[in-house]
């Protein structure tokens, strides 16, 4: 199949999840790319992006972790494919250099305000003046030569032109016209009978001004891919609602309620599976549903696929049995009943 297309090359940042609990996402993505003649060059010696924890607790560290990966990608010299939504979010925000700073309405008013406020140093009454002072000194966490605060606002708009690489999440990557066309040609069997809802989650859509998604409350990229695969994709209102994955370990009760809402909504929309492109969402939806089976019977469980797994299935890549085995809500009964 390789010979049918010209070569395309992308740098590839898997992230810790794809190297661990979401191995089936990694494997299926690599298989699909190989079948479409897209060569993936894994970043040599990549490091963790720091996930939510880093920007929750230490934005300096978050910035450094992401920056190192971006530097590695620049060395490889190709555009970067980042399948994990959380990693994508961190890298994209850092690349745009707009971490925390809204360029829109708030910015100008803010500059005025900042002019009148003490920055850093010791501030009586403020509980953590030390932290603030340190932040003030470490100043600009942006790359060398990015200059002072005022300049930062001025250069924010043209920074993306200066950065030499672009970053793609899986949905955007496969809806790129070149690649979507290849996918269309490569599909061997249509996945008719599968009635998925596309679940985008939070982090590939937000913050809106960084991601530049045209329709952040109702994205369409994954729906388009699913249509190409021949599924009858359902629309639903929960495409970008949070599944609470970052609270999955610390606050399981909250996550359980969010997942229940999502699964019920998917069933109400008439779907027989949920498709996602985020390892956090997949793991969270899959695991919490496995609990339903144990605790109650009122919610019907729905298999949760990675979009790349369905692509591989449609293209006819072998070896998907071993991926299905690693799902907690086993998708095999559904696939068997549809003759897939």
């Amino acid at each position: 199949m390789l010979g049918r297309f010209g070569k395309l090359e992308f740098a590839y940042y898997p992230g810790c999840s794809l190297a661990g609990t979401a191995r089936e996402y990694d494997e299926s993505l690599r298989e699909v790319c190989a079948a479409l003649g897209v060569q993936l060059v894994e970043l040599p010696d990549w490091n963790c992006c720091g996930g939510s924890s880093a920007h929750f607790l230490d934005r300096e560290l978050a910035d450094k972790l992401a920056r190192r990966n971006l530097r590695l990608a620049q060395e490889v010299g190709s555009d970067l494919l980042v399948p994990c939504a959380a990693c994508f979010h961190r890298l994209k925000v850092t690349l745009q250099g707009q971490d925390r700073t809204l360029p829109a309405r708030g910015e100008r008013r803010l500059q005025e305000l900042l002019g009148q406020l003490p920055t850093g140093g010791s501030q009586e009454g403020f509980p953590s003046a030390k932290v603030l002072g340190k932040e003030g000194n470490s100043a600009d966490p942006l790359p060398k030569g990015e200059g002072e605060n005022g300049e930062k606002a001025a250069t924010a708009s043209n920074r993306s032109e200066r950065s030499t690489i672009r970053i793609f999440p899986v949905n955007e990557f496969f809806t790129d016209p070149r690649i979507l066309e290849r996918l269309r040609c490569a599909v061997r069997r249509s996945l008719g009978g599968l009635q998925p809802v596309a679940y985008y989650g939070c982090l590939t859509q937000r913050p809106v001004h960084v991601m530049g998604s045209g329709n952040p409350e109702n994205p369409q990229a994954m729906d388009r891919i699913l249509e190409v695969l021949g599924t009858s994709v359902h629309s639903w209102a929960y495409k970008t609602d949070c599944c609470g994955a970052s609270l999955g370990i610390t606050e399981p009760e909250v996550t359980r309620r969010l997942v229940t809402t999502l699964v019920k909504a998917a069933a109400e929309a008439g779907a027989n599976c949920i498709v996602t492109a985020c390892p956090m969402c997949q793991a969270n939806l899959d695991l919490r549903q496995a609990e339903f089976v144990r605790t109650s019977t009122e919610v019907r469980t729905v298999p949760v696929f990675y979009i790349t797994e369905l692509m591989a299935l449609a293209i006819g890549v072998s070896g998907h049995e071993r991926w299905w085995k690693r799902h907690l809500v086993d998708p095999r009964p559904l696939l068997r009943s549809l003759g897939l």
Binding site: G20, F56, L57, Q123, G125, P127, S128, R206, T240
Partner: protein, 204 residues
């Protein structure tokens, strides 16, 4: 209202947030759209728009007493929907970093501890070791049966990798002084890898 809700406190907390993350909380007119869309609001004692209000008023004690800041899942729905362009999620991040960690409520400290475990792994190995992270957190706080059930399922389905992985920086890197010296310092995640990454930044 606390003692810190004075004029003096008011300017410093909101000003500190502005200095830290560049968000002007005074643009908020309390429409409550952030709270309406917040997926974690069901678990919050103080809703996101109220958090913003407390920041405006400089009510540090109230913020420390509430666990809302730590219940925030970081999904950014509030930021996306704010009619005045306030980065509400950014304010939550800033509060987590500028308020003193050890003075938060127990729930807040517990969630903070998890994130710290995560980061201490990242700075030690350069990557996250998922099994180690989950096991360590659950051992500390004694999991419920439901959590143990999920854990067993994950192991049965071979979700976890058994062994951790390191990046070359960490392999070549120094040992971590904080590791054996009794109680870990609250900044323990800030040391080794950051230094190493700094070094590589100065390279060619």
């Amino acid at each position: 209202m606390s003692d810190e809700g004075t004029t003096e406190g008011r300017t410093t907390l909101a000003g500190g947030i502005a200095a830290f993350c560049g968000v002007n909380v005074f643009l908020c007119y309390q429409c409550g759209r952030c709270s309406a869309g917040c997926p974690a609001a069901l678990a919050m004692d103080v809703l996101p728009h109220q958090v913003i209000h407390l920041v405006k008023l400089g009510c540090v004690e109230e913020l420390l007493r509430s666990h809302s800041i730590w219940m925030c899942a970081g999904c950014q729905t509030c930021t996306a929907r704010c009619p005045n362009g306030i980065d509400v999620a950014g304010v939550m991040d800033a509060l987590r970093q500028v308020l003193p960690l050890d003075r938060f409520s127990p729930a807040g400290r517990r969630i903070a501890a998890f994130h710290r475990m995560f980061l201490s792994q990242v700075v030690r190995r350069g990557r996250v070791y998922e099994l180690g992270l989950v096991a360590r957190y659950q051992l500390v706080r004694r999991p419920s049966w439901a959590e143990m059930f999920v854990g067993v399922q994950m192991i049965r389905k071979r979700k976890f990798r058994w062994l951790p992985r390191r990046i070359s920086l960490a392999k070549a890197g120094e040992r971590f002084p904080e590791k054996r010296s009794g109680k870990p310092s609250p900044d323990c995640w800030k040391s080794p890898l950051v230094r190493l990454v700094d070094k590589s930044e100065q390279g060619p």
